[in-house]
Amino acid sequence: MSDLVIDIKNLSRRFGDKHALQDVSLGVPRGGVFGLIGSNGAGKTTLIKHILGSHYAQSGSVSVFGFDPVAEPVRVLGRIGYMSEDRDVPGWMRVQEVIEFTKAFYPGWDSGYASQLRELFELDPKQKIRNLSRGQTARVCLLLALAHRPELLVLDEPSSGLDPVIRRDILTAIVRTTADEGRTVLFSSHLLDEIERLADRVAILHQGRIVLDQSVETILESYHRVTLRFDESFAVAPNLTGAMHSEGKGHEWTYVYSGDKEQLVESSRRLNAQIVAEAPLSLDDIFICNVQGS
C-alpha cells in the first residue's frame, strides 16, 4: 500500500450543536491528486483546518506525514503549500514584501522560481495587496504556496470566484506539481469538471460525513444512467436494486444505477424490462445523486 501523506481516522467535530464532521476517515496517498467535493457547509474547510492543525481532533486522529499537525506545526506545515479559501494575505503588505516575508519561513524556498512565477503572473512587486484585484490576490497566494516546492499542496476552493484565465493558472500548477515525483495535491472544489480532469481520487463530504471515497475512474465506470422499457405501465418507478434515482413515466423509466453491469442485466430481466438506452454519467450528476438522498 502506498504510504499515506494524510491519514485521518474517525474524526468528529462539533461546533456547539452543529456536527461539522461525523466519523470521517480518509487516506490521501502520496503522489496523486485528491479531490474533496461537498456542498457549502459540508465540512470541507473544517477538514482542511484539521489537516493544518488549526483545529485539534475532538475525537479520532489526524496524521500528516506521520506527525500530528497540532503538536508539530513546523515539521508539518513546512512541507505544505497552502492556499486558503479567503486568500487572506495581509492587505497592507506589498507583493515583494509578502514574498520576502513568506520566504523566511521555508528553508526550501526557491527565489528564482518565485521571481519566475511573479513575472509569469504579471504581478507588480511594489503594489499593495489590498489594491490588487481578486484574481491577482489569488495569484499571489498561489505563488506563495508553490515557491517552496512543497511535498503537499493543499488548496481550499482555489477557483472560487475567479475568471477562467486564473483558473487555468491554478489548474496548470496542480498538473505540474503532480507531474513531479512524489508530490501530492489535495484540493476542494465545487467545479466538478476540474475534479474530473485532475483528480485521481475523490471523496464526497455531505453534512459532515464521507459519502463516497474512490478513484475517479472507478466512480465513472460504476455509475450508469439506464432507461428500461417495461411491458406494463407503472405510475411509480418499479424498484430496481442498486438504483439511486429514478424518473420517467408509463412504460419507460430512467434510473441512475451504481454497481455491477451483470447484476443490472439480471435485475432488469427479472422485472421483465428491456434496456433501451444506456449512458455514462457526469461527475456532477453522480454528486447530486449521492447528496440528494438526505
Binding site: L52, V70, L77, R87, V89, G91, F101, A104, K128
Partner: protein
C-alpha cells in the same frame, strides 16, 4: 416615511438587541464595584462630593458614554448595506443620526438614574446626557465613512479629548496638572447658555458633515479624503525608501516585522508625531509671545500629553485586539467575521498556515511590542531631555514652581517608566494577559485577599490594589509553571526573568518609598508583575489562539 422608520427600527431591534441591553448593564459593573464599597466606607455625603470622588465619577461617566456610543454604533452596523435600497441619503443619515442620539441619551440617562438609586449620590442627569448626545453626534461624521485609513480613529480620539475638556470645564476642573484637587470642583448642575450654544453648533455641524460624508460615500464619486491623500503620499515616500528588497534572517524576525507593522507601529508613530507637533507649537507660541518659559511650559504639557497618548493608544490597541471580531462585525453583522477584515493579527488562515511554532511566535510578538514601547518611550524621554537641557541653558526659568516639578527627575523618571511599562502591558493584552483574566482560578486568591482586608476595615484603595497585586502574582506563578511544563522556556531563562523582575520591583519601591503610600507600592509591584507575565504566558496564549 412611516413605514421606512418602522422597517429600519425593526431591523435595528432584530439585529442585535442583546448588545443594546447587555452593554449598558456591563458598563455599570465597574461603576458599582468602585462606588458601592465607597458607600459602605463613608456614608458622609460630603465625601461623595469631594473633588476626588467627583473626578472618579466624571471619568466613569466618560467611559460609560463611550461604551454606549460604541454599543449603539455596533448594533446599527455600517450604512453601506442600505445604499442599494430606495432610500434617500438624507433619510439614511438622519435616521441613524437621530435614533442613535436618542438611544445613547436614553441609555446614559437610564444608567445615571440607576446610579442615583443604588448609590448615595445626587448626580445630575441632564448635563451628562447632553454631553453624551453631543459626543455621539460629534463622532458621526468620523465613523460613517468607508475610508480605510487609520487616521480616522486618530481623529475620533482627538474629538473625544476635546469634548472631555468641555466636560472638565463643566465640572469646574481647571486645565492644569493638579487641577483636580482644587476645591471648586463640583457637579455639572447648571447647563449654561454656553453649553446650549456648544450643543446646537456641534449638532448642526455634525449633522451637516455626516450627511455630506454619507452622500459622498454613496455616490461613489467620493474624492480621496485628506487622510487618504496623506496615506498615499506616505506610501509613495515609503516605496522610494524601500526600493531595496527586505531580507529577513529568520522566521522570528519576519513574524515580528509583520506583527509590528500591522498594529503596534501606530503607537510610536503617534508618540513621535505628537512630540514633534508639541515642539512645533511650543516654538511657535513662544516666538509669538516672546517668552521662553512658554516654550518650556508648552513643551512639558505636550510631552505629558504624548506620554498619555502613548499609553492610551496602547490601551486602545489592546482592547481592539480583544474585541476585534466585534469590530469586524460592525461593517457586516450578518456575515461571519472575515479574517481579512481585521487589521490586527487575529485568527488568520494564512498566518496559521506558516510553519512557525508558538514559542518562536511569542518571541516575535514580544519583540514587536517591546519595539513599539521602546521607540515611543525614547521619543518621550528625548523630549524631556531636551526640556531639561533648554531649561538648564535658560537658567531654570521654571523654578518658581507652579506644580511642574521639572527638577524632580524622580517624578519624570517614574512617569516615563510607568508609561513604558503600561504601554508594554497593554500591547500584550490580547495573548498574554486576557487569557489569565478569563481563568476563574486566577481570581480566587485576589477575591479572598480583598475580602479579608475589607473585613479588617482597610481602606478600599488598599484592598483593591492588594487584590490586583495578588492577581498578578497568581497569574505569574501559574504561567511560569505552565511554561516550564510546556518547555517554552528553560529554567535558567525563567529564573533570570524572575530575578530581573524582582530587582526592578524592589528598585522602584526603594526609590519611591517616600512618595508612595502602600497603595502606590502595591500598584507598582502589580505593574512589574504584569510586565513579567507576557514572557511566560504569550506562547501558551498564541498556542490557544492557533488551535481551537
Amino acid at each position: 416615511m412611516q413605514s421606512i422608520i418602522s422597517a429600519l427600527s425593526w431591523e435595528y431591534y432584530a439585529r442585535n438587541r442583546w448588545m443594546l441591553l447587555y452593554l449598558p448593564l456591563i458598563a455599570n459593573i465597574p461603576v458599582i464595584c468602585v462606588l458601592v464599597p465607597l458607600k459602605s466606607i463613608s456614608p458622609d455625603a460630603a465625601f461623595m462630593t469631594s473633588p476626588l470622588l467627583i473626578g472618579i465619577q466624571m471619568i466613569l461617566i466618560l467611559c460609560m458614554v463611550l461604551l454606549a456610543c460604541f454599543g449603539v454604533l455596533t448594533t446599527q452596523g455600517g450604512l453601506k448595506r442600505l445604499y442599494r435600497l430606495p432610500l434617500s441619503t438624507v433619510q439614511i443619515a438622519s435616521y441613524y443620526f437621530c435614533s442613535g442620539a436618542l438611544l445613547v441619551g436614553a441609555q446614559v440617562a437610564l444608567m445615571l438614574w440607576l446610579w442615583k438609586v443604588l448609590l448615595p449620590i445626587d448626580l445630575p442627569i441632564a448635563g451628562p446626557v447632553l454631553f453624551s448626545v453631543v459626543c455621539w453626534c460629534a463622532l458621526q461624521p468620523v465613523v460613517r465613512g468607508q475610508s480605510q485609513s487609520l487616521w480616522w480613529i486618530v481623529l475620533a480620539v482627538l474629538i473625544v479629548i476635546a469634548l472631555f475638556f468641555w466636560l472638565l470645564r463643566n465640572h469646574g476642573i481647571p486645565l492644569q496638572p493638579g487641577g483636580m484637587q482644587t476645591q471648586q470642583v463640583h457637579y455639572w448642575t447648571v447647563i449654561s447658555r454656553a453649553d446650549w450654544l456648544i450643543t446646537t453648533v456641534s449638532l448642526s455641524l455634525a449633522y451637516w458633515l455626516t450627511t455630506l460624508r454619507v452622500t459622498y460615500d454613496r455616490s461613489g464619486r467620493r474624492k480621496t479624503s485628506l487622510f487618504e491623500k496623506i496615506d498615499l503620499a506616505w506610501e509613495r515616500v515609503q516605496s522610494r525608501w524601500n526600493s531595496g528588497s527586505r531580507n529577513f534572517n529568520s522566521a522570528i524576525q519576519a513574524f515580528s516585522w509583520c506583527h509590528f507593522r500591522s498594529g503596534p507601529i501606530a503607537i510610536p508613530m503617534l508618540a513621535i508625531g505628537s512630540v514633534i507637533l508639541t515642539w512645533m507649537i511650543a516654538g511657535l507660541v513662544s516666538i509669538i509671545q516672546q517668552d521662553s518659559s512658554t516654550l518650556l511650559r508648552f513643551a512639558i504639557g505636550g510631552t505629558y500629553l504624548s506620554t498619555m497618548l502613548q499609553v492610551y493608544m496602547a490601551f486602545l490597541f489592546g482592547i481592539l485586539g480583544l474585541f476585534g471580531s466585534s469590530l469586524a462585525r460592525f461593517e457586516a453583522p450578518e456575515q461571519e467575521p472575515k479574517a481579512s477584515n481585521s487589521q490586527i493579527l487575529e485568527v488568520s488562515p494564512f498566518m496559521d498556515g506558516l510553519p512557525i511554532n508558538s514559542i518562536d511566535k511569542s518571541f516575535a510578538v514580544l519583540r514587536s511590542s517591546g519595539r513599539a514601547t521602546v521607540l515611543s518611550s525614547v521619543a518621550v524621554i528625548l523630549s524631556y531631555l531636551l526640556i531639561t537641557i533648554i531649561s538648564f541653558l535658560l537658567g531654570n526659568p521654571l523654578q518658581s514652581g507652579e506644580g511642574i516639578e521639572i527638577k524632580s527627575f524622580k517624578y519624570l523618571g517614574f512617569l516615563t517608566t510607568s508609561a513604558m511599562l503600561l504601554t508594554y502591558v497593554f500591547n500584550n493584552l490580547k495573548f498574554s494577559i486576557a487569557p489569565s483574566l478569563m481563568r476563574i482560578d486566577h481570581w480566587i486568591w485576589p477575591i479572598i485577599v480583598i475580602a479579608v482586608l475589607l473585613a479588617f476595615r482597610m481602606p478600599l484603595g488598599l484592598c483593591l490594589s492588594a487584590g490586583l497585586c495578588v492577581f498578578a502574582l497568581v497569574a505569574l506563578v501559574y504561567s511560569t509553571i505552565q511554561s516550564l511544563i510546556d518547555k517554552d522556556l528553560s529554567v535558567r531563562t525563567a529564573s533570570l526573568i524572575w530575578l530581573v523582575g524582582i530587582a526592578i520591583a524592589v528598585g522602584l519601591l526603594a526609590v519611591l518609598r517616600n512618595e508612595f503610600g502602600p497603595v502606590g507600592m502595591l500598584l507598582a509591584a502589580s505593574l512589574v508583575g504584569l510586565v513579567m507575565l507576557p514572557f511566560f504566558s504569550t506562547a501558551a496564549g498564541l498556542r490557544q489562539a492557533r488551535t481551537t
